[in-house]
């Protein structure tokens, strides 16, 4: 299942936040969206997830979601959004409970995703006992459990320290390599974008417009922290963004 944005513009009241965005999200790829803060990245993601309607333009779904997919468009939140009163197992199980699955089927799915995210040993822990990185792994496990057609990730690693972020990026790459998934990955961190993105979409400052789409052909598994090709791409992205970011920053200060 592919997603397509067709000349999408969006206003909040008088303020235009997105201007004429046309973008393809092909299945099996990770599309990273980068841009200065306030440029409408989260808004764009909410539209893709059906939580918001664009003022003009259309959000299209091309083709049907796979047969066994319980929740085609699935979010991963920056602040994890785990239920603190449920264990790791319970949090993953939550999203399976409304789909008429038998207890055994649910247990099998939960065991599978916990194994894939290396959380099996923590199945009975409560969120308060977990570190930030572990919590986000639980959220990823929960998203995988519904077998999404597209994962919508809004700065999923931004609440984590940089070491944890590296580890989780490796986990995401490993997950994708074992079983490619489609994802839209919003970030303001260019290093994340060049590690995870097959396609990197650069937005301008508000109103967000498509500045450039960079394609990276290097397989995810071969990308390493500090790789010269990736460094060069990151430099290129930064040169695209730096003036925008500076301007956006000044704009916020001036109100």
């Amino acid at each position: 299942m592919d997603l397509k944005l067709s000349s999408v513009s969006h206003y909040y009241g008088e303020t235009q936040v997105l201007r004429d965005i046309t973008l393809d999200i092909p299945s099996g790829q990770i599309v990273c969206i980068v841009g200065p803060s306030g440029c409408g990245k989260s808004t764009l993601l909410r539209m893709l997830g059906g939580l918001e309607r664009p003022t003009t333009g259309r959000v299209l779904q091309l083709g049907d979601a796979p047969e066994n997919c319980l929740n085609p468009l699935t979010y991963i939140f920056q602040d994890f959004a785990l239920l603190p009163w449920r264990t790791v197992r319970g949090n993953v199980g939550l999203v399976l409970e409304d789909h008429g699955l038998s207890k055994a089927e649910r247990a099998a799915i939960i065991d599978d995703v916990l194994a894939r995210t290396k959380l099996t040993d923590f199945a009975d822990a409560l969120p308060k006992q977990l570190s930030g990185g572990m919590k986000q792994r639980v959220a990823i496990a929960r998203a995988l459990a519904v077998n999404p057609a597209v994962m919508l990730m809004d700065e999923p690693l931004s609440a984590l320290d940089s070491q944890t972020r590296e580890l989780l990026m490796d986990d995401l790459v490993a997950l994708w390599t074992r079983q490619p998934f489609t994802a839209v990955y919003v970030t303001h961190n260019l290093a994340e974008a060049v590690r995870l993105g097959h396609k990197i979409v650069v937005l301008s400052r508000r109103p967000g417009e498509l500045r450039e789409v960079v394609s990276l052909d290097m397989p995810l598994a071969e990308r390493r922290h500090g790789d010269p090709v990736l460094e060069a791409q990151q430099q290129h992205l930064w040169s695209l963004m730096r003036d925008e970011a500076a301007a956006a920053d000044a704009e916020l200060i001036n109100g």
Binding site: L51, A81, V95
Partner: protein, 268 residues
């Protein structure tokens, strides 16, 4: 900056203390013991006249007598039954309607002013009305206690529902959970801390109303017992009754605390 040796070094002054309520076991008990000992000493030495305050040891004797004549249970059982039934009705209605107010803006617009209007009414003043509506028997007592528990529970519950983390609700929606699942698995558990602390207050109010209800037309019950003792100026029995009420309050509070520890073990 030349002579930085150990000899000229000073400790950095610590100024980070306080503002951290911690557990101090036994202090509460000590306050009770000291007050009781003071009363005992005062009444024995004649510093406090027996008409002002009964001697604590006499109250204890009265209590013992009450226990041995099995009258204690004759009074306690109906009281606890009334408290349990009345509070159960009031609290469940309160939680139910509080959740509805929290969820639906129409219900909120309709009921919040009503709740605000009945909250400040001293429910005791309505006892005669309840007697007319429900009869002089148990039903009017249940109604009074239920009504008194209802209002604080409603207010605590809808405030607690308002405070449930919206991100969690969005999460539920984004995974396509049904309405009922979101309410029962996200909203209500998330509101539980607020509901339980509201329950502490409403159950205390329930005890106050229990006594009021029993002072009007009850043969047995702590309230009736206190009323009888009061009209005879039998201070020992009056105080024995009051002590029972205090113990009841402590027991209720301990019960809520136990439920909190079990249900809210997920809190950081």
């Amino acid at each position: 900056m030349a002579d930085l040796t150990e000899s000229t070094a000073r400790e950095v002054t610590f100024r980070g203390g306080g503002f951290q309520p911690g557990h101090r076991r036994g202090v509460g008990l000590a306050v009770f013991v000291v007050l009781i000992l003071l009363a005992e000493w005062g009444t024995r030495s004649g510093f406090i006249s027996p008409l002002t305050l009964p001697r604590p040891s006499d109250v204890l004797l009265t209590f013992q007598e009450l226990y041995q004549s099995r009258m204690l249970f004759k009074h306690l059982v109906p009281s606890v039954t009334r408290l349990a039934i009345g509070a159960l009705i009031g609290a469940s209605l309160g939680v139910g309607i509080g959740v509805l107010i929290g969820l639906f803006s129409l219900v909120r617009a309709g009921l919040v002013p009503l709740v605000a209007a009945i909250f400040p009414i001293p429910k005791i003043a309505l006892l005669p009305l309840f007697v007319i509506w429900f009869g002089i028997d148990e039903a009017s007592k249940y109604a009074l206690i239920a009504f008194g528990t209802f209002t604080p529970t409603v207010v605590a519950t809808y405030a607690a529902v308002d405070n449930v983390d919206r991100v969690l609700i969005r999460m539920g929606q984004s995974f396509g959970l049904g309405w009922w699942s979101i309410v029962s698995k996200i909203v209500v558990p998330g509101a539980m801390p607020g509901i339980l602390s509201g329950l502490r207050i409403s159950l205390t109010i329930a005890i106050i109303l229990l006594v009021a209800a029993e002072m009007l037309g009850a043969e047995y019950g702590i309230g009736a017992y206190i009323l009888q003792a009061g009209s005879l100026y039998d201070l020992e029995r009056l105080f024995a009754g009051v002590v029972i009420l205090s113990l009841l309050g402590v027991a209720v509070s301990a019960a809520v605390a136990a439920v909190e520890r079990r249900v809210l073990n997920w809190r950081v």
